[in-house]
Amino acid sequence: MKLVILSLALLSPLASAAQCTIDSQYMQASYKVSQQHEVDTAVHTQQFTLWRTLSQAAQQDEQLVEVWQQLSNQQLRPIRYFVQDKRGIEYQPSEVKAKQNFSSKQQLVSDELLAKMTLQSERGEGCDKVQKYSLKQADTTIEVSWVVNKKLLESMHITKPTGSQTIILQSVSFDKQTVQQQFAVWDNYQTTDYADIGDNESDPFLAKMINLGFIEHSAPGFYDTNGKTLKGGHHHSHH
């Protein structure tokens, strides 16, 4: 397959770009997030993995997996899997503007945010072509390194007066079978509709949900399309 891509790349940069987009539809990418606050000089780091298929995207860390499924009517349906319990909570499709948001789920940085940013430089060719973007909005500066034909975020750096946040790609693979298998593992977890949680206080896992509330999976703020909620880190907090 790689050989085919290579030869296509040699034949035509355009065909090559389209092909690498197709080949990167099934993706497993590991990222490191570093956060530094102005008042606290220590750098806090976290790891997470982004998984995607044509219609699903998942962010996975040690405890929690958040899956977003794009439906045929373009709505997004979120599911949260709790890895230790091998359990999941299924939500109803929300009415978010599915198209723009699904790109943020699949790519970490949405097409809309990229469109707002200014292209600073380009390097490489075909599948490896990397574009550098930047955006200054109020007191926030965002810099993105974007592998354009793979729709892959290589790095993002956000600077605010209160601190900075960096997300860097550690490794990536495009093995369709591995990705499909991983989604199948999660799909086999026992799931419960969020609407049914309130009726299941006798289930220890769900009782925990009722009594303690949900483990909040604070979304990485840096992929917000408006660049407004860039305060978040990738962490868990119990409420």
């Binding site: 219609s55 699903q56 499924q69 439906l71 045929s72 009517n73 709505q75 349906r77 979120p78 909570i89 299924e90 939500y91 109803q92 499709p93 929300s94 009415e95 989604f183 799909d187 026992q190 509709d193 969020y194 609407a195 049914d196 949680i197 309130g198 009726d199 299941n200 206080e201 006798s202 289930d203 949900m209 009722i210 009594n211 303690l212 509330g213 949900f214 483990i215 909040e216 907090s237 409420h239």
Partner: protein
């Protein structure tokens, strides 16, 4: 008043005694005079009017009893008035509240006189259950419905508010102060209170233990009706395998055994059948249970929950699928095709178009599964992928199919998502789904006769939903409290406005704008306590009311629920009763047990 009278009499006697002494000494002979005075209503001596008798001697011989000649005073006060003159009543009789109540009095007396009290006179029975529709939910929905029609709201009546008979049901489960739908619906449909979380079995069950089911199964009103040859139907906006609808047809040690993949291994090997399978095998299971019984199965089944009927294989996905793999069943069974094989003339539908195309005059059986999981909230129906009918549309269609049976029918209709919206802390959807239930009840009232159809409307349990503060009349029920005589929201001790409706516990404040899906609230952690609502439109679909105690899901409440009834036997819905009593009202109305006994004896 009595005390005052005694004092007057004592005083008069003392005077008489003193004068008697004088009389003896002076030997004068004065004429004794007696004067009767009529005392008007409101007089100081007698508030209801009466007679004052004055007796004395005419010591100055002027022929009149002067004040200083009175020796004895007796009062004879009238009893309190039992009726007032038209003039006295004018402030009442011209008052609209008064006039309305007089009309209602007459109607109520006619209703009591006209109700069919004899047993066995109900040809048809329809049981409506608003899941989680406590009294405060009914009140708030009534106000919202009125306000949606441009009225102030409080004076409005939901369809079932107009029913002539009502009472209360005590909802607790045998083992739980605050109940769940499984135990409560089992009580209503079988006449036996049982444990929380179990379906169609008595309290000797151990929840989750398959081996304890055998011997503890109950029989339901739906099953009795089926044995009696009536047409039978179950309609719900929840999954049709969910606790409330399941309690009409299934026996399960756990409400969550909706399909085989939800069951523990030992329950499957122990021979327990999942709830979806029991629905499709309803006819066969009933015939196996009662030797010699020949029934024709459920004529109408409509609701959500397609996932529990399909194999866990994307190849079986419907056009309405939400999940990548719609089906959940791990035993490779496709219960939809099994149903179609059992009822070859029956019609399976899964979307609005299929539903619209049903010919109710010729339909023998209808199996409608309109959603992978629960059906949409009424306000969120527009977001369904393939489209789905409303509760009132399903009710109309169900009755049109069921009434093809000349013997009559037994229909259960659940509005399943009032409960879910409350759990999510979203009054907007809870109230709008209650209004839709009211419409469905109106459809049933319009399509049937009070002479031969008993309709009961109730809830399985309540929620911790309150209507509070001192908002002025006509204040938007989902709005902020604006006091009588004011145009600005009242402020709490923290200086911030507050809403009329709220929750004692749950997820708390959310401001999701025009989001019509109540459950979107679960995406964030609980946010209880106070928020500044000054700039928030609390009447919007996506507003979630504040809550006092932080919980991941708002809870049921333990107070009684209302029961509303019309038709033969409805007079028995009165007073405060155990929830299990409702089965007995339905049994009385249609002689369910008596007729089934006779069938089984033959």
């Amino acid at each position: 008043m009595a005390a005052n009278m005694n004092k007057l009499n004592l005083l008069s006697l003392a005077v008489v005694v003193a004068l008697a002494g004088c009389s003896d000494d002076d030997d004068n002979d004065y004429k004794t005079l007696v004067v009767n005075n009529t005392l008007p209503v409101g007089s100081q001596q007698c508030v209801n009017g009466g007679t004052e008798t004055l007796e004395g001697e005419d010591t100055n011989r002027n022929g009149e009893l002067d004040a200083d000649e009175v020796l004895e005073t007796n009062l004879n006060c009238n009893d309190p008035a039992s009726s007032l003159t038209p003039q006295q009543l004018v402030n009442l009789s011209t008052n609209q509240w008064f006039k309305d109540a007089k009309v209602k009095m007459a109607t109520s007396q006619e209703n009591i006189a006209g109700i069919v009290k004899e047993s066995g006179k109900a040809k048809n029975i329809i049981l409506f259950v608003g899941d989680g529709m406590g009294v405060s939910t009914v009140t708030a929905a009534r106000i919202l419905a009125g306000q949606q029609e441009g009225k102030m709201g409080e004076e409005h009546l939901l369809s079932f508010d107009t029913m002539p008979f009502s009472g209360f049901a005590k909802t607790y489960n045998v083992d739980a102060q605050t109940p769940d739908s499984a135990g409560t619906m089992t009580a209503m449909t079988s006449g036996v209170k049982t444990d929380v979380g179990v379906i169609g079995v008595d309290e000797d069950i151990e929840r989750g233990d398959c081996s304890t089911v055998a011997g503890n199964e109950l029989i339901t009103a739906t099953e009795l009706a089926e044995i009696n040859g009536l047409a039978t139907g179950i309609v719900s906006t929840a999954r049709i395998t969910h606790a409330t609808p399941a309690a009409t047809y299934a026996k399960s040690a756990d409400r969550n055994w909706e399909d085989v993949s939800d069951m523990p291994e030992d329950a499957v090997t122990g021979g327990c059948e999942d709830i979806a399978s029991q629905l499709v095998n309803f006819e066969a299971n009933l015939e196996a249970r009662f030797a010699g019984v020949d029934v024709d199965g459920l004529e109408v089944v409509m609701g959500g929950g397609r996932r529990h009927f399909l194999p866990k294989d994307a190849a079986f996905n419907s056009a309405d699928a939400v999940s990548a793999v719609e089906g959940d069943r791990t035993d490779e069974r496709n219960l939809i095709t099994e149903w179609q094989a059992k009822y070859p003339t029956g019609q399976y539908v899964m979307d609005q178009a299929g539903f619209n195309n049903l010919d109710t005059e010729t339909a023998t059986q209808v199996f409608g599964l309109f959603n992978e999981s629960h059906m949409q909230y009424e306000a969120d129906r527009g977001n369904d992928i393939a489209g789905e009918p409303s509760l009132s549309e399903m009710t109309a269609k169900a009755i049109d199919v069921l009434d093809n049976n000349d013997k009559g029918f037994f229909l259960t209709v659940e509005s399943g998502r009032i409960d879910h919206a409350h759990h999510a802390g979203n009054a907007y959807n809870a109230l709008n789904d209650t209004i839709e239930l009211s419409k469905a009840v109106q459809v049933a009232m319009d399509k049937t006769s009070i002479e031969d159809t008993l309709i009961i409307v109730t809830a399985d349990h309540s929620h911790v939903f309150t209507i509070a503060g001192y908002p002025k009349r006509g204040n938007p029920i989902l709005g902020k409290v604006v006091a009588v005589g004011s145009e600005e929201p009242s402020l709490a001790a923290d200086g911030m406005p507050y809403t009329t409706v709220g929750y004692a516990n749950g997820l708390g404040f959310r401001n999701l704008g025009d989001e019509t899906n109540a459950d979107a609230a679960y995406l964030e952690a609980p946010a209880v306590g106070r928020y500044d609502l000054t700039a928030v439109d609390t009447t919007s679909a996506g507003f979630h009311q504040e809550a006092a105690v932080p919980l991941g899901s708002e809870t049921h409440a333990g107070e009684d629920v209302g029961v509303y009834a019309i038709g033969p036997g409805a007079h028995l819905v009165t007073g405060t009763n155990e929830q299990s009593y409702l089965f007995h009202v339905m049994d009385y109305a249609a002689d369910l047990v008596k007729n089934a006994d006779a069938k089984l004896a033959n």
